[in-house]
């Protein structure tokens, strides 16, 4: 049976306690448009640090990984190389700091790695090509866009962020909701 992408994405979204399930066919048959399954696990972990779940959904629940993957296969195609290199760099820094790859670190350690990236002083060969700060800004920005942009782009599932901000969604079109004020 070929694993259906939509089902997989749902599975990821439902991922209990943040556990990231792999598709049945193993690591090399990617269910993503751009990412390998390993990439996706890493990006998912990074973005969940950038917007963590608390009383409101975080990046994982809102499907930010799906947004980034979809856009890297589309309008943000030009950033593919930055991601390819950047993801290698994140694990290099992670190993240099804690001896293990990023996805298996404790959340506090993951935060430390991302802070190192943000400072531009992260350790890792790859950061000679692009600064770690530039890659961090890129993925942070894409995480924000995925979390706050419209669901049609793959993220903000169920208008999670709009609910968090108390904004009605989708806005009622063509109706004068504000007549009371004039």
């Amino acid at each position: 049976m070929k694993y259906n992408r939509r089902r997989f994405v749902k599975t990821v979204a439902a991922g209990v306690g943040g556990a990231f399930l792999l598709p049945a066919r193993g690591a090399d048959a990617s269910v993503w448009r751009f990412f390998t399954n390993a990439d996706a696990r890493l990006v998912d972990a990074i973005t969940e640090q950038i917007i963590p779940a608390d009383q409101d959904p975080g990046a994982r629940d809102a499907g930010v990984i799906n947004f980034i993957d979809k856009q890297l296969a589309g309008r943000l195609r030009r950033h593919r190389q930055a991601y390819r290199d950047g993801l290698i760099g994140v694990d290099e820094t992670s190993r240099a700091m804690f001896g293990r790859e990023f996805v298996v670190l404790a959340p506090e350690q993951q935060t430390e790695v991302l802070k190192a990236l943000e400072s531009g002083k992260a350790k890792g060969e790859t950061w000679r090509k692009q600064s770690s700060a530039a890659f961090f800004r890129l993925i942070r920005d894409h995480t924000m866009a995925g979390f706050y942009g419209g669901p049609q782009h793959g993220g903000n599932r169920g208008y999670a962020s709009y609910k968090m901000l108390g904004l009605d969604y989708p806005q009622i079109i063509g109706q004068n909701r504000y007549r009371r004020r004039s």
């Binding site: 975080g58 856009q71 309008r75 030009r78 924000m144 866009a145 942009g149 419209g150 901000l165 079109i173």
Partner: protein, 552 residues
């Protein structure tokens, strides 16, 4: 193969071009209006924050597209980089029928009398080509009025003692203040400022056959879902078409103005919607492609007599590129400031446009348009965390409890802030692209520091619990408020056109867009560009005596 001749080709169906096309076709001239973009609808992008004309992370909603367009921008130290239209640095406005007027915030400012006499008011500023306009406010005033009535402005200047004289009031009543506006109004009065409602190119009541604004959350950056925003696409351009004299040709990209060996324009070559090159013969040409693209078009229009481009004998085409150094402040509040009443910007002051001690100018200050959630994720006090739980806490606490007050600092023109054509990089059609370089004048930053301190004071008085200012750095100018690249003036050695927008060198080529601005005011520029469209159009109409009119 040449097309059937017309009296006038207008390049660009934006703010200036839309107005000129209407003025000329109404006067009976046959007009071909070339626009590189197409007609737009609200449904194309709806309320998509990520593809708008303000946030462009996934592309520009209303053009130009990233596939076919490029610019080259100075990266300092003699290096250049190629940028796409949706990337910062490109300095985009828009590319569609109506251009920026489809998706703008629609603030409708007249410049002040002193804005036309900057040199006389402030004297020479070192490192600047600061100059007076060759026309006065009084000369342009009737044309402001025409723009306000034909395109539609809602406002009321009664409470503003700094307003330049206005013979006739606006055709529509002002928009009421939103919650931010009410808070700022009370604070301004305590401080002795003179607040008044922002004049808007939006229908506060039904006008021009279109409905009233429903004050939605999405205005700046978006097309209007109920067609209550007034641009050239839903006013003057339809009027031009209705005359039967104006042929709007969309998806047509002008390449160059052909200039004959006697030094007169013969017409315009362009690529049509199928990328086929066409030649449109014309008696006169109006360049209204925006400050960056008009300069590029003229520089690309090389001829025997003018080998460095049309109108460029004195090397002034593309010079003095200006925009606005936006400066202001943000404040965080304990009580809710957000009432979801769009467009958001409702209140302004003009107390600090002129007369600021030791400064050559200033800026109008107004509260900001509604910040959508993604945009707001980038608004943080200096040093505050931008991610993690702290990010979420900030969004939850302050999305509905913040006010921004900003203003467009009138830039002091710099000769070396300029648009050239790149010697190598070409667009999809093989046309050399615009190359932008130079930086703002340091004085702009000084003015920005001053006006932003006033914005901060205002927010504090309104009860902000925390405030911070934002002042831009030096860096390339231009952008949404681009202007100045084909300065009008009386001296052909220090300007590109005469006071009627007519090239000093080639009398049957006119310019009618932001390029003409000698200085760019401490205000958003579009109403002035529209007024200049009427001004230039009026001159052409009055002097039109048939095909040979401007060939001597």
């Amino acid at each position: 193969m040449a097309l059937k001749p017309v009296n006038a080709v207008v390049v660009g169906a934006g703010a200036g071009g839309g107005v000129v096309a209407k003025e000329l076709s109404e006067a009976g001239l046959s007009v071909a209006l070339l626009e590189r973009g197409g007609w737009t609808t609200f449904e194309q992008h709806g309320h998509d924050e990520l593809i708008s004309q303000r946030v462009t992370i996934l592309g520009n909603a209303f053009g130009p597209d990233d596939e076919r367009h490029r610019r080259v921008v100075s990266a300092g130290a003699g290096k250049w980089r190629t940028v796409l239209p949706s990337e910062g640095g490109y300095g985009n406005n828009a590319a569609c029928v109506g251009s920026g007027t489809v998706s703008y915030g629609a603030m409708a400012w007249r410049f002040m009398e002193k804005d036309f006499r900057m040199r006389s008011t402030y004297g020479a500023v070192a490192g600047s080509t600061l100059e007076d306009w060759p026309i006065s406010y009084a000369e342009l005033e009737p044309f402001y009025e025409k723009a306000e009535w034909e395109i539609g402005v809602a406002g009321d200047m009664k409470a503003n003692p700094f307003s330049p004289p206005q013979r006739r009031p606006y055709p529509m009543p002002p928009f009421p203040l939103n919650r931010e506006g009410e808070m700022l109004q009370a604070a301004a009065k305590k401080l002795g400022f003179h607040p008044f409602p922002v004049p808007m190119l939006r229908n506060s009541v039904p006008y021009g056959g279109r409905p009233a604004c429903i004050k939605c959350r999405y205005c700046v950056g978006f097309a209007c879902e109920v067609n209550a925003k007034c641009g050239t696409h839903n006013t003057v351009i339809p009027t031009a078409i209705a005359t039967g004299n104006c042929d709007v040709r969309t998806h047509c990209v002008a390449k160059e103005v052909a200039v004959d060996d006697r030094g007169f324009a013969r017409g315009v070559s362009y690529f049509d919607a199928n990328d086929r090159e066409q030649f449109q013969p014309a008696d006169l040409v109006v360049a209204a492609a925006s400050a960056t693209e008009t300069a590029r078009l003229l520089l690309n229009s090389k001829s025997k007599l003018f080998p460095t481009g049309a109108g460029n004998r004195s090397d002034w085409v593309g010079r003095n590129l200006q925009g606005h150094a936006y400066a202001g402040a943000w404040g965080l509040f304990e009580q809710e400031t957000f009432d979801d009443v769009g467009a958001g910007a409702t209140i302004a002051i003009m107390d600090f446009n002129h007369g600021n001690p030791g400064l050559a100018g200033g800026a109008m200050l107004a509260n900001e348009f509604i910040r959508l959630p993604y945009l707001f994720s980038g608004r943080r006090p200096p040093g505050a965390p931008t991610w993690g739980k702290a990010h979420k806490d900030f969004q939850r606490q302050f999305y509905r409890r913040s006010i921004g007050v900003q203003g467009p600092v009138q830039e002091i023109p710099v000769f070396d802030a300029r648009v050239e054509v790149d010697p190598e990089v070409k667009d999809h059609w093989g046309i050399p692209v615009a190359r932008i370089s130079g930086s703002r004048h340091p004085h702009d930053i000084e003015i920005g520091r001053f006006t932003s301190s006033k914005a901060e004071l205002w927010l504090k008085e309104a009860g902000a619990i925390q405030t911070w200012t934002t002042v831009p750095g030096l860096g390339v100018s231009g952008g949404q408020h681009q202007a100045g690249t084909c300065r009008m003036g009386n001296d052909p050695k220090t300007s590109v056109t005469n006071k009627h927008g007519q090239l000093h060198d080639i009398p049957n080529i006119f310019v009618a867009d932001g390029s003409l601005h000698v200085t760019n005011g401490g205000f958003n520029p579009v109403l002035t560009i529209m007024a200049l469209g009427y001004w230039v159009g009026d001159y052409i109409r009055k002097n039109w005596k048939g095909p040979k009119s401007f060939r001597s």
